[in-house]
Symmetry: C2
DNA sequence: GTCTCCGAACAATATTTATTGATGCGTCGG
DNA sequence: CCGACGCATCAATAAATATTGTTCGGAGAC
């Protein structure tokens, strides 16, 4: 369900899109220091709960964060593996060390 | 003008946003093999010229591609340095190897 | 059970972003 | 000079995303 419907390109779009939002980058910055519950994120980021819930879902769907239920709280933490994946995607974009190609129209 | 108004976070948003679009990723994939003029991109991607021009501008503003005027043609190529920058941004997001923090609310 | 709290999900709206077609500017060929 | 070409830019529209307030379900406290 997570895979198979995802081409490499679609996966890249999903990941980069998830990373291209200020609120979500702030969440990531907070989670670098360790697991946090939603309530603490709303306090720290001074954001409405429904808004954070939305952004956390984007991050979770992209595989950037994981959640863990604990009683009535939900704790989120970064998934370290996803960053390797992003790095691989970036590497796959780097220019090939190829001799200057023919000018296409000169 | 390009800098100084950009915080680290704003820069990350700009870069990841530029990378989170299918057309733009296709452009990047084509440019990996070397410089291309707009006319060739429109042919290969079968996209309207004004549309490509728009996306090329997004990529250029983000510093992902460079353009070079040559008579009436404009050639675009990847800027290799930007990928190092993206990698640095990713590294700066990785979880800190820190002991499990206190549960915030348990 | 009932009440309260935490958080997800929904619906309506606001805001951004992308697409399309038209226009304009510079360059080359005649 | 004139016409064709290559590309950027603009204006209008379409489409995708985000925000807000509300509702709903699960989990503890009593």
């Amino acid at each position: 369900m997570t895979a198979a419907t995802h081409s490499q390109t679609e996966r890249a779009i999903e990941l980069f899109h998830a990373l291209s939002d200020e609120t979500r980058l702030e969440i990531i910055e907070l989670l670098r220091k360790g697991e946090r519950c939603v309530c603490e994120l709303t306090d720290t980021l001074d954001a409405a709960q429904s808004r954070l819930s939305f952004h956390l879902r984007v991050l979770k769907d992209a595989g950037i964060v994981r959640d863990r239920k604990d009683g009535r709280w939900v704790h989120y933490e970064l998934d370290p593996e996803v960053f390797e994946e992003v790095e691989a995607l970036i590497s796959a974009m780097k220019p090939l060390a190829v001799s200057r190609s023919e000018a296409c129209c000169a």
